[in-house]
Amino acid sequence: MSGPLLELRGATKRFGGITALNEVSLTVPRGGIVGVIGPNGAGKTTLFNLITGAYDLTSGEILFEGRSVAGLRPHRIARLGLARTFQNIRLFPSMTVREHLLVGQRGGGLRLADLLPSGGAARVGRAELAMRRFGLEAHRDRLAATLPYGLQRKVEMARAWTAAPKLLLLDEPVAGMNHDEAQDLAVLLRALRGEGLSILLIEHDMPFVMGLCDHLHVLDFGVPIAEGAPEAVRANPVVLDAYLGAPA
């Protein structure tokens, strides 16, 4: 297949008289890592909510693999191969780490295997693999919501990964992580990209974004003000003025 995995054309969202997102166009190529940066309130999370179907577009288009996802319900969009994490982590309070990795796997309706313990051998295997990759083996039977913040983020990412998505949306993945943890995560995300996963991420941590992304978009008050390769964006005076304030 050719063409970008995800394409936004003039995506606009208004809440009453307030324009949260104005004419945003971006593409995520297959195997690409694209970052969206901008100050608080720039509309980054609104962007994710539009892509995942939590909000309806006011105008514009969102295409996933060339197909419009406008008006599709969130679970339908998720089943197309799109998984996300949340800025304020949303784990299932009653579940252990292992249970998160079992429930998160793509079902696409009820299957017979869903009636087996843990959803069958294939699912158990994938959950085990996720625990190894994201370094969660030691915490498997802990309630995920009782883990330290950085680990909770990893559980959320692992849960998203178990769904075997084509596109992973990460909302501030390294918030609450220290420098070493963030570096480890960057290594892991690059490895996942090497396996064909595409990633769209929102982040405040500039060194992390600059080191990881192929392409950056900058939003300010819902308006796209710049885009390009990380080095070009960093040097862009408009961006410096609006966001970075000083050289990053």
């Binding site: 998984a83 299932f92 079992l102 429930v103 998160g104 295997a113 009636l115 313990p117 959803g119 039977d141």
Partner: protein, 288 residues
């Protein structure tokens, strides 16, 4: 076995099954205050089949459960637009609606009640209880059950990992209704006489109480709760006229001290020695 003991055992079995119906619905975070209505549907349907069509008991129970489950799904759909106390009120309304339907539906006896069933054995009730409990215990280890818990925990996140939360909630509603329907069918063939008053609001609240008291996170909880609901008022007879008040006080005490109900996963694990030390030894359990 004395008739008194048999009567208590039958009540526990019937109440236990019906409470499991509430438990399944509650697993998705929906509180049903109308499950007595599903009992009524199961009771009247199964009774009508055995009395006027000479259908065997097992087939009649299954038919009653099926009909009840279908009605449950139909009720579940509009009720799903509602949440929390609003859903509870809607199910309460449905319960009263069903009760008055049978009150005025003359072909099934109306206010005069319906009779002519042949009595079943207490053991039959307990076999059904065993089957329903067994299925739910097995189901609790399945991924399907995890998806129900996910909807209960965080519906938005459940949708975003690709779960069809609405379908799961309606499905759970239908399944809970069917289970309560089984209980109603057995009730009809134990008491031999049924009337709409058997399936009123009080019965519905009793079922919810059994689940809350016994524990709403494991299938054994509602059965324990149903047992206590039958036995405690009996054993509290020494306080004579105050026994219902004493029972109420006990219920409040349990809720204050142990909000998750008497039984929960940890306690059950400790009692059965299953997966002991699973936290320390990850290779335990069903992973291998």
């Amino acid at each position: 076995m004395s008739a008194y003991t048999a009567g208590l055992l039958a009540e526990i079995g019937i109440g236990g099954i019906a409470a499991l119906g509430v438990y399944v619905i509650l697993a998705t975070g929906q509180l049903s205050l109308g499950n007595a209505a599903f009992m009524a549907i199961g009771a009247y349907a199964a009774g009508w089949l055995t009395v006027t069509h000479d259908v065997g008991l097992t087939a009649a129970v299954l038919a009653g459960a099926l009909l009840s489950g279908i009605v449950g799904v139909l009720v579940g759909f509009p009720a799903l637009r509602l949440r929390g106390i609003y859903l509870a009120m809607a199910t309460l309304g449905f319960g009263e609606m069903t009760r008055s339907f049978f009150l005025f539906f003359e072909p099934l006896g109306g206010a005069a009640g319906f009779s002519g069933m042949r009595q079943l054995q207490v053991s039959t009730i307990w076999i059904w209880l065993g089957i329903v409990l067994g299925v739910l215990v097995l189901l609790a280890r399945s991924r399907l059950w995890l998806t129900l818990r996910a909807v209960n925990d965080d519906e938005v996140a459940a949708n975003l990992i690709g779960l069809h939360a609405t379908a799961l909630k309606v499905g759970a509603f239908g399944m809970g209704a069917a289970i309560s329907g089984i209980s109603g069918a057995l009730f009809a063939h134990w008491h031999l006489f049924i009337e709409p008053g058997n399936f009123g609001f009080e019965r519905s609240t009793e079922l919810v109480m059994a689940v809350i008291l016994g524990g709403s996170t494991v299938a054994a909880g509602p059965v324990l709760g149903a047992g206590l609901l039958v036995l405690l008022p009996e054993t509290l007879r020494f306080v004579a006229d105050w026994r219902l008040a004493a029972f109420g006080a006990l219920l409040i005490l349990v809720l204050l001290v142990r909000r998750q109900g008497l039984l929960d996963r940890n306690l059950l694990r400790a009692l059965t020695f299953r997966r002991r030390g699973a936290e320390a030894r990850p290779e335990a359990a069903e992973v291998s």
